[in-house]
Symmetry: C2
Subunit: 176 residues, 2 copies
DNA sequence: TATTGACTTGTGATAACATAACACATATCT
DNA sequence: AGATATGTGTTATGTTATCACAAGTCAATA
């Protein structure tokens, strides 16, 4: 049975790691980007980014809103949506359409195309590089004369951890 | 400025074509598939497929529902969603997440992965083959240990027709 | 510092998309 | 016909997203 998979490098989203460090680093990068481009990383916007960074799963706009409200920001949907849209527009966060949710970008500032792996069991989301995918997609579109602006590439499935758990469960069903 | 693109074969969704024929063919294929697999292509389901086939743009569930209601079917959202979900589950239609809409499958029955080109101007949607994209996506996921179930690949941009119109508009602005 | 203009935040209201739960009908199989 | 599974329709509600407008903030500058 073995672990045909566990010998590969697991993605940060799907493994133990020094999360405090990972948050700090990404936040720092984001701040650098904002400064460089003259973006206004206001309190709400910054706080939303921090909230997203707390975890590697995506959050719905209303979940973010709830947090904001608790902390004294506005209580209405546009408060959350505006901040999220700002982050997405400036590459500091991504929108995951399959689950109507948002996630902080892994490496803001670096021009890149990303694809997302969405675990259907734990709702974790991993960002993987998609420059190659994007190129291939453009090649496909070219033959139709279509000009691509933005692309959404998302895969739903099971992350390594949940897959392992599922196998355990299979080995030993009748419990509970 | 040439036409680096206009000498390629345009996609059916983005060009003139014998649509009646294109509908009939696809519907026939769909029926064959349903028979082969023992699916029950009931009146509502079949009608929804026909409605989707009328155009090469995607329709929202509520647009479909409105049509159904006019024709004597149920008036409540589940009526449309259930039929649409059935069609999607059986590969007779696809869901376009970027615009919360549904579109008939171009070639039901043939096992395939598809990507979609969504025109932001006219809302037309073209389905293009994505087996290569899928393979590349899986390769990318493999290194994280992630097991892909379904994938969503969508590009937003401008179709050749709308692009042409836009250029005309640019040549000759000031008109209304 | 007062003014201006662009941008940001907050609000109430509402639109758009989607599902839950249940009753009844219809199909299939025996 | 009776039993079972599946499909349809309904009411009700949940979830996601946007509109329109008022008020506040900020930076540039006269």
């Amino acid at each position: 049975m073995s672990d045909a998979v566990s010998d590969t490098e697991p993605h940060a989203a799907f493994s133990q790691h020094d999360h405090a460090h990972c948050v700090a680093t990404t936040l720092q990068q984001a701040e650098r980007v904002a400064t460089e481009r003259g973006l206004r990383l206001t309190p709400v916007r910054r706080r939303v980014l921090e909230i997203l960074l707390e975890r590697h799963s995506a959050m719905g706009a209303y979940d973010v809103l709830e947090r904001l409200a608790e902390e004294g920001f506005g209580h209405q949907p546009p408060v959350a949506y505006r901040a999220l849209d700002f982050l997405v527009a400036n590459g500091l966060a991504h929108r995951i359409r399959r689950i109507n949710a948002f996630i902080a970008c892994d490496h803001p500032g670096e021009a890149h195309h990303a694809a997302f792996l969405v675990c259907e069991t734990c709702n974790g989301v991993a960002e993987i590089p998609a420059d190659g995918l994007r190129a291939m997609l453009e090649a496909g579109a070219r033959s139709t004369g279509f000009a691509i602006g933005r692309a959404t590439i998302e895969a739903a499935g099971q992350c390594p951890e949940c897959r392992a758990r599922a196998e355990q469960g299979t080995d030993n069903e009748a419990q509970e």
